[in-house]
Amino acid sequence: MSTDSMTPLLELRGLKKHFDISGDWFAGERKYLKAVDGIDLKVYAGETLGIVGESGCGKSTTGNVILRLIEPSAGDILFEGKSICGLSLAELRAKRKDFQMIFQDPFSSLNPRMRVLDLIAEPLRSHNVLSGEKLRRRVGELMESVGLSPSFITRYPHEFSGGQRQRIGIARALALRPKLIVCDEVVSALDVSIQAQILNLLGRLQKEFNLTYIFISHGLPAIKHISTRIAVMYLGKIVELATKEQLFRRPLHPYTEALLSAVPIPDPALARSRKRIVLDGDIPSPVNLPSGCRFHTRCPYAQEKCRLVEPALLVKPDGHQVACHFPLAETAGPLAAPAQPAAAMALAE
């Protein structure tokens, strides 16, 4: 997909979100949790951008900041070329028609005391799009399009299974015909069988309504299945950004490599024969970030430079972006080549 010439649907410029966790007015020194620490990203119409990373690396925060559910600390968000950071709350509310979110937990993201009708109708009502019988009909259509029977319209969320609830969430996000949908871990809480249903549904809807997705997940297989491009986040920053094919064929960042190697493969023969990179230690605290490259504390290839200088996200000629002083393919580090489950990856595309 050649996208460079088009104006992106969404553009993030130096986006930062630092949570103030000092919590104390009189505290001498303020403490910040740097959940998102400078992200530049372009999302083009019709594509699916996947964001992966460990738990706590700032994926959800990024998603929330994009929708301004959390106010960014710095940086700019441009939607269709226009900044939405300066909008007043009322303007923003009107603008919300265009970008919607589907939440991670289908159990907690639906108000247990509202009926499906009200849940799906809420965005339409809030923006005074439709009312009365028309509204009801529209809700019925939406339910059908996500594969729910309209006869469920007066039920409460608890009367549905997890997959069905997630469909309600999707229907709600679709109600206003948005251009962009941020899917925050929409399948993580679901069973594999239902995961498949939802992933397929999202794919179908994307074609049908020409949607753009930002798909946030820590489940690599799912993200691989649905995305066109993938951004890998580590501790509030994007460390690698490439098309799905590039990323899975040849990851350039050691972190991506470790991530890929850690994914269990549901094939006993393959699983037990491949080489796994188990990262030591836990993700460092986002309050006291390590100096230099954020990953150096866990990186098997870390060198002196990594401790001192923070690498920038550089674009390779093929469009593959990586923030590493010693990207794997170039340095051809000791573990680089065999580490990739290359054989398995180069399957039919």
Binding site: V192, Q195, A196, P221, K224, P264, P266, L270
Partner: protein, 342 residues
């Protein structure tokens, strides 16, 4: 590396470590009795890693709780026996059971976030079973606990010993759970979805840890999960459960290579795989029936793409295939099932 782990155990002892025979577990609910586990049998040899897989709600955890005697006030094992080292533990009093719980059999729970008491230090929670079962003094218990924490690969075990669960990351908490479960050197460890709540890098750490422990201590492990990837990496044998019943059972290689039950096959096909790329995933339509509303005949029949009349009227039984392989399905076993039927 763990391929033949089960063999020595099987030949070494005649009686299996755990033998679950036809158990049926009931729960009292406001709608009357429900049976989330119905007619489940399996046996475990010493040193084996057996995985139980299945969708959410199919009775995996309840099976484990039945073995542990943790069904609570409203549930009980209504039928069948559970033999642990030859003794029927399903008939034991709560008092007797307490001597086995945490000592001979221990369990790692599904949610490391909620399964640790948030108001007690991790050290206290590990010490507890040592003091109870091994009659250790506070000091001895502390030493052993810290030792155990070190064994599960915890950095700075002394600090972790004094920490509260909320001060630890998810992976650390899960390791505390494991340390807790292993502290008394159990013969059987039931790990209920030990990695589901964790992300891949931490999951990899934990899985590695469990493999190491098994090879070091020879602990028998029951691994409950719905992640087929984890199963493929860890298990010697796999038990597939659906709606409270065992539908397929066999060694990991045969099962993954040639799953016989349509449900198992459905599960495999709906799993997105990192080493393949497909346009659309196959999915099993419908959902797991609730314990109160089981369909007639084969419980999977409403969702089964290959169900025929008999399936809808008559419940299949678990049939033995070659060796230790069992399937609960009416499909003529001879009819070779191929992976790519669609």
């Amino acid at each position: 590396m763990t391929t033949n782990q089960a063999d020595p155990a099987r030949s070494g002892e005649k009686a299996p470590l755990l033998d679950v025979r036809n158990i049926r577990t009931s729960f009292r609910t406001s709608q009357g009795l429900v049976y989330p586990v119905d007619n489940v049998s399996f046996s475990l040899d010493r040193g084996e890693v057996v995985a139980i897989v299945g969708e959410s709600g199919c009775g995996k955890s309840i099976t484990a709780f039945s073995v542990m005697g943790l069904l609570g006030d409203s549930g009980r094992v209504e039928q069948g026996e559970i033999f642990f080292e030859g003794r029927d533990i399903s008939a034991m009093s709560r008092e007797q059971m307490r001597g086995i719980q945490g000592n001979d059999i221990s369990m790692i729970f599904q949610e490391p976030l909620t399964s640790l008491n948030p108001l007690l230090t991790t050290g206290y929670q590990i010490d507890e079973s040592l003091r109870l079962h091994k009659n250790l003094s506070r000091k001895q218990a502390k030493e052993q606990s810290i030792d155990m924490l070190r064994k599960v690969g915890m950095p700075r075990p002394e600090a972790v010993y004094a920490a509260y669960p909320h001060e630890l990351s998810g992976g650390m908490r899960q390791r505390v759970m494991i340390a807790m479960a292993l502290s008394c050197g159990p013969k059987l460890l039931i790990a209920d979805e030990p990695t589901t709540a964790l992300d891949v890098t931490i999951q990899a750490q934990i899985l590695k840890l469990m493999q190491d422990l098994r090879s070091e201590l020879g602990t028998t492990i029951v691994l409950i999960t719905h992640d087929l990837g984890v199963v493929a990496e860890m298990a010697d044998r796999v038990i597939v459960m659906y709606a409270g019943q065992v539908v397929e059972q066999g060694d990991v290689y045969s099962l993954f290579q040639n799953p016989k039950h349509p449900y198992t096959r459905g599960l495999m096909n709906s799993t997105p795989k990192i080493h393949e790329i497909r346009d659309a995933l196959e999915s099993i339509r419908g959902t797991v029936p609730a314990p109160g509303e089981m369909p007639r005949g084969c419980r999977f029949s409403p969702r089964c793409p290959r169900a025929f009349d008999k399936c809808r009227t008559e419940a299949p039984v678990l049939q033995e295939f070659c060796g230790n392989y069992q399937v609960r399905c009416w499909l003529p076993e001879e009819q070779e099932v191929t992976l790519d039927e669609h």
